[in-house]
Symmetry: C2
């Protein structure tokens, strides 16, 4: 048996999310089906993070176990051929130790959230960013974001369906930068609560539009109450950007 | 009668190109239909450049004449609402002089061509770039591009369907730059022959892959013969990037 680490890119638009579903297409289902077609084996794929419907991935680490002996290049090319026409691509494939786990060995996750700040609808970036027509106040968003960095109880920014044991998380990075007519939010932590990034970005959007002051963000955090959440940003602007592991991969 | 200058963005994937067609969707047809729905008038739209099927636009100037009196904001918002779900967006609308013409007043056109230089298929950028798996030699491409800049007979780089009176054109700019794992080609000229940018980029691709030397590009140009063309790059990597006019718009 060989354990393989795959890095996947996908367009979240047609999928119900990462996790295999009976009632619709999933990225997990797509990669497992391709691996089964290639090897004849029943394969279970594990991802660093489970993403919701519509959420994209720039570089999602996933592992699968295969009995069949393959070289990395052939595995990558074969999976990519079999994944068509699903918008999922295997960016790389490498052998890892049998105890390496895409989810449990992961030491850090990074997300990118794209806000397109313009009046016109998105033609080229439809389904790829959250469009906010009202001009956003970048400095206010940056000030608000700073309140969330650190070790906090993130109950306010947590989905009611969140399965995490604790609402306590350490947010290592929450940066807001202007990139042309877009605003990018970069978030990094060892792990996130369900909907945490979208919830934080939704409130940053309210701050940017002037509906919330930067201090309202601190008040929302301190409320430790989902009812204090201002807005959950849409899934389509969210990208799983990368993950960190120990050793030479890190 | 008011003449309106519209700047359009579109995703070329679902369209047969700019020009109205009996047998399939076109950007011209989409914008004319939206304007007719809004005003009840028969509208003809004129674009700075006519693009082929699959070619995108980041900022295409277009003009239409309307009898109905409208303000610019209402026109933009109304057209955008009526264009849905077509992936066409009106980025701006402004009144111009009645003799201003999107095509005939245009003093310069710019194109961007995106090459994605990676082994894996494109999941997020499918239909948005030309993927070349083999690592490209950027310096060789830059050297080859320099041979094409200036006033030349571009017969080699001209479609057999080109309707231009003359194959003589002045290419003001042809720059090749690395952007992450992409190579961007920037082309600018007063006007281009049909398929000129795609033909030049196709040959640049051959140079980058080592199938042509940079000097082969000069030989191809000097052949003044379509048979000397190495490769026509696919439409999906091409973006009409902008146009130049006299006056304060320039």
């Amino acid at each position: 048996m060989t354990r393989w680490k795959l890095i996947l890119e996908w367009d979240g638009e047609p999928f119900m999310g990462w996790q295999r579903q009976d009632h619709g297409p999933s990225v997990q289902g797509a990669i497992e089906r391709a691996a089964r077609q290639m090897t004849g084996e029943d394969v279970t794929a594990h991802a660093s993070g489970r993403t919701d419907a519509g959420v994209h991935a720039l570089a999602m680490p996933v592992h699968i176990d295969l009995e069949k002996t393959l070289d990395a290049h052939r595995l990558q090319e074969g999976l990519n051929a079999l994944l068509r026409p699903d918008p999922v691509a295997v960016l790389s494939a490498e052998e890892v130790a049998p105890d390496w786990h895409a989810r449990f060995s992961c030491l850090g996750r990074r997300y990118l959230y794209r806000i397109s700040n313009r009046r016109a609808p998105l033609a080229l970036d439809r389904g790829r960013a959250w469009r906010i027509a009202k001009p956003l106040d970048l400095a206010a968003m940056q000030e608000a974001a700073a309140h969330l960095v650190g070790h906090h109880d993130f109950t306010t920014f947590r989905s009611v369906n969140c399965q995490s044991d604790s609402p306590l998380k350490t947010l290592d990075r929450l940066e807001v930068e202007q990139v042309g007519d877009e605003i990018h939010v970069h978030a990094a932590a060892r792990s996130f609560l369900h909907h945490q990034v979208r919830s934080m970005v939704g409130c940053l959007g309210l701050v940017g539009m002037g509906q919330w002051s930067p201090d309202s963000m601190r008040a929302a955090l301190e409320a430790r109450d989902r009812a204090a959440l201002g807005l959950n940003a849409p899934a389509e602007g969210l990208y799983f950007a990368g993950a960190l592991y120990e050793g030479p991969d890190a």
